[in-house]
Symmetry: C2
Subunit: 445 residues, 2 copies
């Protein structure tokens, strides 16, 4: 289907292409547009789309294409696009554009819209204000169901979502919420006040998007009102934006847990220098921290020189310790992020990790002993040393891995940094100290 | 608020407690119920709630509490709960109950419901069939808007979502979809067929939930129809379930990336033996793989014995290599999961990782050289050896880390297993071979 339309466009059969395109979903049209190689063709296609479809497609194409289109069309066309765009999509787009493009767009809006856009662009990044939209339906509590439905019919046309309607008083203060479902299922003469939900879950313009996402999850919402400091309704946040936020917060956690500075940009679209910068800082910190492990080994140089085979078990001990610790820290970080673990559970986690680590430690030490003593024919005392070290390393690694994320949260750091890489560095030092101390003791050197 | 009600319950002031409770959100009531220590009080409270609220609360409490309640109430009460529960919530609950509880519940339903429940319990886990609900609104294409709204009013009362209505023909085949918003905003006399969306995005009962979630994200949906093999509508999936699925899929990825077998259970609620089992398998595999790194070191025992200081840089080289590789693999795994990277991008990723690794490798090697030659006063040739090894290790680690997840996807493995722990084990061996070969060359031993 897409290829067929691309062919039609290539052959400049625009009206046939248009006919096929308008039947498609706007998300698919946007995807099709991304694949058009000749930018002139793209512009022609964009111009012959019906206005509302064009605006819908515009909100789904990449920022690069948005910028190309805005820079290529006339002022009047810019005004048309802006008029049709949902307000939050317009803000998303403007946030990514360079200032000269923003200026040109603002020039083509009326003063009221311009003021509103400026206000929205000023909300802190990742706040409710920056993700909300102004297209909502508001009702009054004195209205009957019939009047409310009539009001929606008259004013609801360009509202992004009318699944929930918000009841405001004369000062625009939020008094209640009613779902469109309840409206439709109620008798025409019922008064809104009698059927509206008064216990409204709302957020403030400056609340963080992570908090909003967790409220959506907790209460299974599909939209949520945003109020200012005087409790006046200023916008709503919708579920589609929340899903993007959940993905974004998870991506951030993945990045932090792999010792990177988080970034919202897509990997393939990110510049090499930016990618390198995101990665170098933590690698440097961790590399320099490894100085300690180097020093520990150097302190035991004499021991190593006389029993050089000890060196060959260092990687296995370090890796198993690091992996054990990462497992625990990952589960705890994830539990904290999903709200399944809270700060007061610290002792429960400690006790759980201790028992799990005993089982894991015993199993791995036993297998390891059999492997190196019977199969690799390593000296008995060395095999015992390695297995004992393994056992205690796993226990300490799991306890450190389970505790540090909670400690981080307690001191208001992001638990996600207490993940694999950092835990590994700490556990390395612990493992080496146990290893060489045990070896000194057992081998009597 | 919650504490106040708990006090009232403790003092057996049930009717006062009830009055306060019915004003609350059902999610909050469920949370309150989880905190009631005396199970008898809990049961009394549950019984005096209005039927619809009781069912709502029931769907939000833990499986343990659900089981306790079902095992404590009468057959008639079970029937009441079942009648009020949304169908998908009933299925969720039954899936977690032991068979004697399921039998008792099924005994208290009519034959039609029993058949339907059995059919739903038989859908494969994580398929569209297992997460869909049967509470949807269906219309006919010949209806006018007025007739449609009347039909919704008559039948929509216990539908979970009426935001979208589905248009079926006489064989229940899916012909179109219309949003309630469009219905309300259209003239009463308009015929549904003229305004319905014919290009419906739907899934089959056996489609995997991951696919469904990505369709929801792509098209910003809030509900999606599920059809059988004859394209007959059998249910709908709603956005609240999709959010749970997104969290669940992310948790699985986090667990796999930390070398654990994935589990859907909450950490604090999981038995210690189960937790240990999830972790041991991969730890054992990785520990035994470390035999190779041990063998590499043993092969160079003579070299190590004469220049024992070389051993002290092994942890730093291994960790930095492992961390570099994990960074790349995490970004690529995440990009693949979000659909931002596809298999055909393999060369783009390779070229990107190569350039990034050159920048990162050069920076870290330079800092490392200054650190160990000037500050730690290590011999020049050894400093050079360590820095060169670091440079090449980082390049290879990032290329291996960037490529393996794509290779895994190509051979239909889950890319998430090609994360930190496995990459580290591979990079360890690579780093050691480079290290000892370079050392042999530079130190002329």
């Amino acid at each position: 289907m897409g290829d067929l339309i691309l062919d039609l466009i290539e052959q400049r059969k625009y009206s046939e292409a248009r006919k096929a395109i308008v039947e498609m979903n706007i998300v698919d049209i946007a995807q099709l547009f991304e694949g058009i190689e000749d930018k002139q063709n793209l512009l022609v296609m964009f111009r012959i789309l019906p206005k509302d479809i064009a605006a819908g497609v515009f909100s789904y194409i990449s920022y690069d294409l948005q910028r190309y289109i805005i820079e290529s069309v006339t002022d009047k066309e810019i005004k048309n696009i802006l008029d049709e765009l949902f307000f939050d999509d317009a803000i998303d787009f403007l946030e990514e554009m360079p200032s000269n493009v923003v200026k040109r767009v603002l020039k083509n809006t009326d003063e009221k819209t311009r003021k509103l856009i400026n206000q929205f662009l000023n909300y802190p990044e990742d706040s409710a204000g920056s993700i909300m939209t102004i297209e909502y339906v508001d009702l009054k509590k004195e209205m009957t169901v019939k009047e409310a439905l009539q009001h929606i019919k008259e004013t609801g046309f360009d509202k992004e979502t009318i699944d929930n309607c918000y009841i405001l008083d004369n000062n625009r203060k939020l008094k209640g919420v009613i779902s469109i479902r309840k409206l439709i299922l109620s008798d025409d003469s019922t008064v809104i006040e009698d059927i509206m939900e008064k216990d409204v879950i709302y957020v403030n313009t400056h609340d963080d998007q992570e908090k909003i996402a967790s409220l959506f999850k907790k209460y299974d919402l599909i939209s949520m009102p945003v109020v200012d400091n005087e409790c006046r309704l200023v916008g709503i946040v919708t579920i589609d934006d929340i899903i993007d936020i959940i993905d974004q917060e998870n991506t951030e956690d993945f990045q932090k847990m792999a010792a990177m500075q988080p970034s919202e940009e897509e990997y393939l679209k990110t510049n090499v220098l930016v990618l390198a910068k995101q990665r170098i800082v933590w690698l440097l910190i961790l590399m320099i921290s490894a100085t300690f492990t180097g020093n520990i080994i150097r302190k035991f140089n004499d021991l190593l020189q006389s029993v050089v085979v000890l060196a060959s078990f260092i990687p296995m001990l370090m890796d198993t310790g690091g992996n054990s610790g990462s497992q625990s820290s990952t589960l705890v970080i994830r539990g904290l992020a999903l709200g399944e673990i809270s700060l007061k559970d610290v002792l429960k986690v400690l006790w759980k990790e201790f028992r799990v680590s005993c089982i894991v430690g015993l199993s791995l030490s036993a297998v390891n002993f059999v492997r190196i003593y019977y199969f690799e024919k390593i000296d008995l005392m060395i095999s015992v040393t390695v297995s004992i070290t393994l056992f205690f390393t796993i226990i300490l690694a799991k306890i450190i891995g389970g505790m540090l994320p909670i400690v981080a949260k307690k001191v208001k750091l992001d638990p996600a940094i207490m993940a694999g890489p950092l835990i590994t560095t700490i556990v390395d030092a612990v493992a080496l100290i146990i290893y060489f101390s045990t070896a000194t003791w057992f081998l009597g050197i």
